[in-house]
């Protein structure tokens, strides 16, 4: 039991690197790199969410930007009401204020995304294959266009968060502290997904990906298992969205666009579908490309495209798969 396999060694190494880089940046007094790593961690968190549905459940959701954006807008809307000291809503004497408390924002982001994911999933999971891909995309587009057309929260221009939201008595404006917050949440999400993967529920979920007919024949309804996974997956991605809004101090419909859905998918695929740490590797690679190649040429997307195409055509297990070999159960 004490021996660890190659993937576990790689996972440890990844965590060490993620912690080491910002610490080095702190020591070298280069706070920009801390922010860059924070971005990696947040995007990875969004990918970890999608990986639960996509990697374990085989649910190819092309609409996870919806949940990422919902998380972002919950943060933005609560913060803007708190900043302007206006009621969030005031209804027959029931008055609710905005908030700049991260804890409250996270909780609300998770709840709102979970409710919307339950509705989207309820309808989408009746369909299969391409229809599922397309209907999740359609639902995300609905929310995207709604955000653009709704003028109250900035419409197409988006919404600024003037002061970073607060967590307990920490100085969240400090890059290293904000990084630490995001890192801890990422680790918590990884622990959650890892636990789910090995649990009874995870066994059923991965069975749903392999053979729904068999799952039903042994008395486990695939629909409920998949819907539950979809909702948890959305909640994790929404949490990432709330952090992303706080990182940029800005939310816009961009977070909801289908390109964002594509990008979250890319994190998962580049790293390796169904791999615990896949989304971290994928997100790191993505940000690396965006930042370093983006510094050399504005056409870095071209190279990202070529890399993605190569991975899809020739390295189906993603980067983690290349290093750690094939995925095994038990």
């Amino acid at each position: 039991m004490l021996s660890i396999n190659r993937e576990q060694k790689l996972n440890l190494l990844i965590i060490v690197v993620i912690l080491a880089l910002p610490s080095a940046a702190l020591w070298l007094q280069e706070p920009f790199y801390i922010t860059l790593m924070t971005k990696v961690v947040i995007l990875a968190l969004a990918g970890v969410g999608l990986n639960l549905a996509l990697g374990l459940g085989g649910l190819v959701s092309f609409g996870h930007a919806a949940f990422f954006g919902i998380g972002g807008y919950v943060a933005g809307i609560l913060a803007s009401h708190a900043f302007n000291d206006e009621w969030l809503f005031s209804f027959f004497g029931l008055q609710v204020s905005g908030s700049s408390s991260m804890l409250l924002i996270w909780l609300l982001a998770i709840i709102v995304a979970a409710i919307i994911a339950a509705v989207i999933g309820y309808f989408s999971l009746r369909t299969q294959g391409v229809y599922f891909i397309m209907i999740t995309l359609a639902f995300a587009q609905m929310i995207y266009y709604f955000a653009i057309a709704w003028p109250a929260y900035g419409g197409e221009d988006g919404l600024s968060i003037y002061v970073r939201n607060q967590l307990l008595s920490l100085n969240t404006a400090d890059p290293m502290i904000f990084f630490a917050i995001c890192f801890i949440l990422l680790m918590a999400a990884l622990a959650l997904v890892s636990m789910l993967r090995n649990s009874h529920f995870g066994a059923a979920l991965q069975a749903a990906r392999q053979n729904e007919q068999r799952l039903a024949a042994i008395g486990i309804r695939p629909f409920g298992i998949k819907l539950t996974a979809f909702v948890i997956s959305a909640a994790i991605t929404a949490l990432a969205g709330a952090l992303f809004a706080d990182l940029n101090r800005f939310v816009s419909p961009d977070m909801l666009s289908w390109h964002t859905s594509g990008e979250i998918m890319i994190f998962v695929i580049l790293g390796g579908v169904g791999r615990l740490m896949g989304p971290i590797v994928g997100a790191a690679l993505y940000v690396l490309f965006e930042y370093y190649l983006g510094g050399i040429t504005e056409h870095w997307g071209l190279f990202l495209g070529i890399l993605l195409l190569t991975v899809v055509l020739f390295a189906r297990g993603g980067i983690v798969g290349l290093i750690a070999g094939e995925l095994k159960h038990e």
């Binding site: 359609a138 587009q141 890319i266 695929i269 071209l302 993605l308 195409l309």
Partner: protein, 306 residues
């Protein structure tokens, strides 16, 4: 509300629907015959528009540009099919989505590299530049009428191709039974390349036609692509007839929604909130339409194998 305005909007719906049909015909064929979900279809729309704009500005002839758009997009399609798409037929949908998403990145950035970020302009040809008087009743853009006409010609042409010709017979056979067609000894690789190029050419044509109404720029294919997917999902993936019905439906709901919803809401609400809520609702109307149709008929309106 004047009746002519309503009628004009109906014609606009028809024109929009025809453009969507040009886009979705190829998408649905490629899915029906090869089982491939192709996100890069919007890129071919862009290629057509760029080819048309460049040739038109070099030669001064919109019509040559239009021909160029068909050829360029079909050729680009054939090349992409041979180089990349071919390797994806046996893969699952996830791989197809990602690989073709990668193609979008590659094509978009390469185009931006070659032509820059500024939009190119493509003018409506002289002969179609002036509005035409319809039934002595009102004036309507003759160019938009031309698009409707092209859409109808393509619809009839595709119907003829699929139902009456040998190639069409093979395409239909391929859509229903892939092993059977291989067993018949039809060169399936060439057939696939042809089908892909045909769809690509139509997308390019749509891009060129619409390029004259909007600007020709990188990313112009993205929003159309999503609409085309909505169309084929509504119509039933794989069915040309379904794509036609879906395109008309989406064209109608989108155009009329934008036109009628704010007016309708103004009956109950203040003008200001009617405009904003109406705007929000009308931009999501087609997605609501799609969701409702899929809930009632999870495989779209027209089943492809019927």
């Amino acid at each position: 509300m004047p009746l002519t305005l309503l009628f004009e909007q109906l014609l606009n719906s028809l024109q929009f629907g025809m453009m969507l049909f040009l886009m979705s015909a190829g998408l649905t064929l490629v899915f029906g015959v090869m089982g491939l979900i192709n996100l890069a279809h919007g890129v071919l729309y862009m290629v057509g528009a760029f080819a048309c704009a460049i040739v038109a500005s070099l030669t001064g002839s919109f019509w040559l540009g239009l021909v160029a758009s068909l050829i360029a997009a079909a050729m680009a399609g054939a090349l992409v099919e041979i180089g990349v798409i071919r390797k994806l037929y046996q893969r699952d949908h996830l791989d197809q989505v990602l690989a073709t998403y990668a193609l979008i990145l590659i094509f978009s950035e390469a185009t931006r590299w070659l032509f820059g970020s500024f939009p190119l302009y493509l003018d409506v040809p002289q002969i179609l530049a002036t509005p035409i008087n319809l039934f002595g009743w009102f004036y309507y853009s003759s160019y938009r009428l031309f698009i409707i006409f092209v859409g109808l010609v393509v619809a009839v042409g595709l119907y003829w191709l699929i139902v009456k010709t040998r190639l069409g017979m093979r395409i239909r056979a391929g859509a229903t039974d892939r092993e059977m067609i291989a067993a018949l000894g039809v060169d399936i690789r060439t057939l696939y390349t042809l089908v892909f190029a045909l769809g690509a050419g139509l997308a390019g044509l749509a891009g060129a036609l619409l390029g004259a109404l909007q600007s020709v720029e990188v990313g112009m294919g993205d929003s159309v692509l999503i609409l085309a997917f909505v169309v084929i999902v509504i119509g039933g993936i794989g069915s040309i007839k379904g794509a036609f019905i879906g395109a008309m439906l989406v064209g109608l709901v989108d155009t009329m929604g934008r036109f009628l919803l704010p007016e309708l809401l103004a009956l109950f609400l203040t003008p200001e909130s009617a405009a904003s809520i109406g705007g929000a609702l009308s931009s999501v109307a087609i997605y609501i339409l799609m969701a409702v149709i899929l809930v009632v008929k999870p495989k779209g309106l027209v089943s492809a194998n019927a």
